[in-house]
């Protein structure tokens, strides 16, 4: 599955700029960076065994922070993106502190609470978030001088490629991380924390690092959102959005890097099909119902329930047996 699939994805990604319109390229960029947030949930839940229903919060922190660094502090883009992601990682470590004691379903409760509180809270700090209506960022991520053209399409393609490179690097880094000492510690804690502690794993530092990495990935997704669209607003960071990210991670398959990519691909395809179905006319009362398929939340809800019944290990777990994922 791995190599062939990766090659197929690479081909599709390479073809997009040649065949798609400018809107298509921009949409493709959004889909690509969505992998990061899902990967973040996967690190915390799939590898670390800590349920996070609030990863939309870390995307938000990453986006707001990057916007502030690049606009308010006039930092260069690359630095702002790195710092934005780091700010989200810091926020993640703070949220990880209670996760040291709170486990399982109680942690789900706390993180869902965080997701619900974040939106009204961010309205209160308009200096960073633009308040209720959001704010534009007075800096644009433009292509460097060696880039062949500076038309709008060329800029969109440059941003698209930039996102692919960043996401690719993040996937590679996460792959290395979960196969490193910390990654083994994470899985040991997930499967049995007492046993892990007995074998000398430092539970506190491992849990905090897991949460920080996980939130940092989501924050990177937020930073790249600002790269693509220089505008930040609390409107996007609803509790439902957080749940959809969690659902995508579960649908793709927890505990495998590949699962996060699969989840995003599957959700994109299902979303497109849903849109097409919602656009179809002439079905009478059924047509009314088809409109629901345009609601991504609805599609994800149904997908989540179906997947739980049919493939408890997610899409990446199809055809694979005897792998323990909690």
């Amino acid at each position: 599955m791995g190599l062939g699939g990766a090659a197929l994805i690479a081909v599709v990604l390479a073809v997009v700029p040649f065949v798609a319109s400018i809107t298509g390229v921009r949409q493709a960029s959004q889909i690509v960076i969505g992998v990061l947030a899902v990967l973040g949930v996967n690190v915390a839940t799939g590898y670390g065994g800590m349920i996070s229903l609030g990863h939309g919060v870390f995307i938000g922190v990453g986006a707001f922070a990057t916007g502030y660094y690049v606009d308010g502090l006039a930092l260069p883009w690359l630095l702002a993106i790195a710092l934005g992601s780091a700010t989200a990682a810091l926020a993640g470590a703070l949220v990880g502190l209670p996760a040291l004691r709170i486990k399982g379903i109680h942690l789900a409760l706390v993180t869902l609470g965080l997701a619900i509180v974040f939106q009204p809270l961010s309205k209160r700090f308009p200096r960073f978030t633009g308040g209720v209506s959001g704010s534009g960022i007075d800096a644009e991520f433009v292509s460097p001088s060696w880039w062949p053209s500076d038309t709008r399409m060329a800029t969109a393609v440059y941003r698209y490629l930039f996102c692919i490179v960043v996401v690719g690097l993040a996937l590679w880094a996460t792959w290395n991380l979960v196969n490193s000492r910390l990654g083994r510690a994470m899985r040991a804690i997930r499967d049995n924390d007492t046993a892990a502690a007995v074998y000398g794993v430092d539970l506190i530092s491992a849990r905090l690092q897991t949460f920080a990495v996980s939130a940092g990935l989501a924050g990177l997704c937020g930073a790249l959102q600002v790269v693509l669209v220089p505008f930040v607003s609390q409107e996007k960071f609803t509790p439902q959005a957080s749940l959809v990210i969690y659902a995508t991670a579960v649908i793709g398959g927890l505990g495998t890097i590949w699962g996060s990519v699969l989840g995003v691909i599957a959700s994109t395809i299902v979303g497109k099909v849903g849109q097409a179905a919602a656009g179809a006319d002439g079905f009478g009362p059924i047509g009314e119902f088809l409109d629901l398929l345009d609601e991504s939340a609805f599609v994800f809800g149904v997908g989540l329930i179906l997947l739980t019944f049919l493939f408890p290990r997610g899409l990446a777990g199809i055809g694979r047996r005897n792998q323990v994922t909690s």
């Binding site: 609470g113 509180v117 007492t194 659902a247 609601e295 609805f298 994800f300 809800g301 989540l304 329930i305």
Partner: protein
């Protein structure tokens, strides 16, 4: 900083009535947690759907409000049974993740369905306790009576009486009926209950039914305070109810009610009245939300069993 004690009773009354509503929704959470040790994240959305049923029956079809509420509660109970039977029973109750995912999926589906049918606008739903009924002798006004120089709203009194009545009925069901006995048996020990011949699945369905009915009741009572019903109405209420349930102890029915009331009081007195004292103005919603979150966090960190819940010995 002025200690404005004159307005304090107002805040206390308000806190007690909002708290009673949080307690009602918290009860819906705890009824399911007690039996299955899982949190039904769709509680709020199920309750929202119930409130919309009342909206359809009462505002659109013109049925009597109380009759609409009873029908909506019965329908919610039926939906609860249906969900339990079709979506949660196939899974091993000791494995939490699948069922959590199911309830999260329901959260998303119910919210989207309601949004599709009724849009995301706020729709006015009549207040069951708007004005005193005509047979009550007039004291002070038609919407409140004066106590300690403050206004005790008819709405607050109505909410308290309704909740007390609902709790009384719940107590009767749990303590005097066979289904109630089975429910208590299952929530105290699933394995033993099964061994003595209790049909656990059906009993859990019974729990889902009562929980959904209570959720609907809470949503209808809270609607006037939110200006009406809308698909996202329960998001914040769910947080307050979760705070109440956590504070009271997730497996204690009485604790849920008391916890809910405590959360309401903390919001009204510490946050709102205290906010007026310290800042000289109202910083209502965001401080209240933050307070609820802090209550959840502190309770789970320092006393995971809550005030009245069963303490568990846990490995570290």
């Amino acid at each position: 900083m002025t200690w404005n004690f004159d307005i304090l009773p107002d805040f206390i009354f308000n806190g007690l009535s909002l708290g009673a509503i949080y307690g009602t929704v918290a009860l819906a959470l705890v009824l399911i947690f007690k039996a299955t040790t899982l949190i039904n994240f769709a509680t709020g959305e199920l309750a929202m759907l119930g409130a919309f049923l009342v909206y359809v029956l009462h505002m659109e079809q013109g049925l009597w409000l109380w009759l609409s509420m009873l029908i909506a509660m019965a329908l919610s109970a039926g939906l609860g049974i249906l969900i339990e039977r079709s979506l949660t029973r196939p899974f091993d109750p000791s494995d939490h993740l699948p069922v959590v995912l199911i309830t999260l999926g329901l959260f998303l589906i119910l919210n989207a369905v309601a949004g599709d049918i009724w849009n995301y606008q706020v729709r006015i739903l009549s207040n069951p306790f708007g004005k005193f009924p005509s047979w009550v002798p007039s004291v002070g006004g038609d919407r409140f009576i004066e106590v300690f120089g403050s206004r005790l709203k008819y709405q607050s009194i109505g909410i308290w009486v309704t909740l007390a009545l609902a709790l009384f009925i719940l107590g009767l069901i749990l303590n005097k009926t066979k289904a109630g006995l089975a429910f208590r048996a299952v929530s105290s020990n699933v394995e033993s209950a099964r061994l003595v011949g209790v049909h656990t699945g059906r009993t859990l369905g019974f729990g889902w039914a009562i929980a959904s009915a209570f959720g609907t009741l809470g949503a209808v009572l809270v609607a006037p305070q939110l200006g009406g019903v809308n698909p996202n109405m329960m998001a914040t209420i769910l947080i307050y109810a979760l705070a109440g349930a956590a504070l009271g102890g997730l497996d204690s029915l009485g604790g849920a009610v008391l916890g809910g009331i405590l959360v309401g009081l903390i919001q009204a007195v510490l946050v709102t009245w205290g906010g007026v004292v310290v800042f000289g103005q109202l910083y209502m919603s965001i401080l209240q939300l933050a307070a609820a979150f802090v209550i959840i966090l502190i309770t789970l960190l320092f006393r995971p069993s809550g005030l009245f819940g069963t303490r568990r010995v846990e490995r570290v």
